[in-house]
């Protein structure tokens, strides 16, 4: 075993988790699927005196539809997102989830865990940002909602405080003639992407009527390409939209790819994803 010692609290109710987080503050960490946290503990990149294990909390699992929104419990596993409800209501999330890790990771990892962990190269935070998902957050002080645009603050940093618990994520359901696509370049399927893009478009008689574009792996947080969305709505061609999306990116380089290369890849990913999303929307 490699992690530093901790006490694991296997709670069954949300209230128990909130009480523990309130009691221990930043000496406690929420344990969801553990596919990111446990490696960090094993490498001793981090340590906590207490882990609040949510794996036995039934109330945090499952998918439900209300009023144009699909609400997903934070402890729903990636595998549990590869179901008809998600594929039909929020196709972008279902398609992005297929890119998350390997199947063994998807068997255990959770949507809430991936979003709270907020790795800048992760696919699902970019989906949340593109679609204006709403994070449902609870603490001893009460519950609140945080828009995805206000949620991701930096690498592994979010609007969640030490006493907060992400309990669910609400995604708007797009109707009409819409199309969705995820593109990423990874050196091996299942690895973190060098760069990637998620796109959603809805078309009507006047052309593109709704557009959502976000990138991942190109900064410390997922990046919403608002200017590119506006260009698309104004009638710009796909290549021009990709150019606007990549224009202000300044990704850092590492041994896998230089910053310049990642920026070029980001352009290609937007171009491809948008092309596929448009094709799907027009055929719908």
């Amino acid at each position: 075993m490699k992690p530093a010692p901790f006490e694991l609290h296997a709670v069954e109710e949300v209230e128990e988790a909130l009480a523990l987080l309130a009691a221990y503050g930043d000496d406690a960490k929420v344990l969801a699927g553990g596919q990111s946290l446990v490696p960090m503990l094993a490498l001793r990149l981090t340590r906590f005196g207490h882990l609040v294990d949510l794996n036995r909390v039934e109330a945090l699992r499952g998918v439900s539809r209300t009023d144009g929104w699909l609400t997903i419990g934070a402890m729903t596993r990636h595998r549990g997102l590869q179901v008809e409800d998600v594929a039909s209501q929020v196709p972008l999330l279902a398609r992005a989830t297929a890119h998350v890790g390997h199947f063994q990771i998807r068997n255990r990892g959770t949507l809430g865990g991936a979003i709270a962990h907020a790795d800048p190269a992760a696919e699902q935070p970019a989906v949340c940002l593109a679609l204006d998902a709403v994070m449902e957050v609870s603490s001893r002080a009460g519950t609140r909602e945080v828009r995805a645009g206000d949620f991701f603050e930096g690498t592994w940093a979010t609007a969640l405080g030490p006493e907060d618990l992400l309990t669910g994520i609400r995604f708007p359901v797009w109707s009409g003639r819409s199309g969705f696509a995820v593109e990423e370049l990874a050196r091996r399927h299942g690895d973190f992407a060098l760069a990637g893009a998620v796109c959603a478009v809805a078309v009507g008689e006047r052309g593109v009527e709704r557009a959502a574009i976000a990138l991942f792996g190109v900064g410390s947080t997922p990046v919403r390409a608002s200017a590119a969305e506006e260009a698309l709505l104004a009638g710009a061609a796909i290549g021009e939209v990709a150019t606007v999306a990549a224009r202000d990116l300044d990704p850092t380089g590492d041994l896998h790819a230089s910053g310049t290369y990642r920026k070029k890849v980001a352009w290609v990913m937007v171009e491809r994803a948008l092309g596929r999303a448009m094709e799907e929307a027009r055929g719908a």
């Binding site: 010692p5 553990g34 503990l41 390997h102 255990r108």
Partner: protein, 184 residues
């Protein structure tokens, strides 16, 4: 840290073991249950050597704490082998198709391939390659592993065809039935 005594169900047997909260399931299996077929290499979720089934689903046992497995059915590579000591169809296929060199990564591959084929009986080569990306082999024997997985898929389809008409069980039961099928 103090140890606590927990009860695990491993390969259908009840095991009472003492572990710290931070003891991974992999360490509990190897050091407390003495089931050393589950191998540990990276110990942080990258290599897949420690893959086991928990309630039928393939997971990395280095990313699970033993205390989290209480109440679940854990199946290790030892549990995939028929009781008469012969090999499971997947193991047999790895042997025949040279799906290993040094063998260190093999238990993880065998468990992963067993779980994958239980849900995807007729995968394409691309799908199989994708399914194998969660396990690393440092002898670079991937072509042999791919051939082994393909051969295992064929064999399992034959086993299933022979057993057709019987009601389908859950994934864990299917994995067990598949393991037992080799001896029959």
């Amino acid at each position: 840290m103090p140890e606590r005594t927990i009860e695990l169900t491993v390969n259908g047997e009840r095991r009472v073991v003492a572990v710290e909260d931070r003891t991974t399931l992999a360490d509990a299996l190897r050091e407390r249950c003495h089931l050393t077929g589950t191998h540990l290499a990276c110990e942080h979720g990258v290599c897949g050597a420690c893959t086991v089934l928990v309630d039928g689903a393939a997971v990395r046992s280095c990313l699970l704490f033993a205390v989290q497995a209480v109440g679940s059915e854990v199946t290790t590579v030892e549990g995939l082998t028929p009781p008469d000591g012969t090999l499971s169809p997947v193991q047999e296929a790895f042997r025949e198709a040279h799906g290993l060199q040094c063998g260190f990564c093999t238990p993880g591959f065998v468990v992963s391939v067993t779980a994958y084929l239980a849900e995807h009986p007729d995968p394409s080569d691309d799908e199989l390659r994708d399914a194998l990306t969660g396990n690393l082999c440092r002898c670079t024997g991937y072509q042999g592993i791919l051939r082994a997985a393909r051969l295992a898929a064929e064999r399992l389809r034959e086993v299933r065809g022979a057993a057709a008409g019987q009601p389908a069980g859950d994934l864990a039961a299917t994995a067990g039935a598949v393991g037992g099928g080799a001896g029959s």
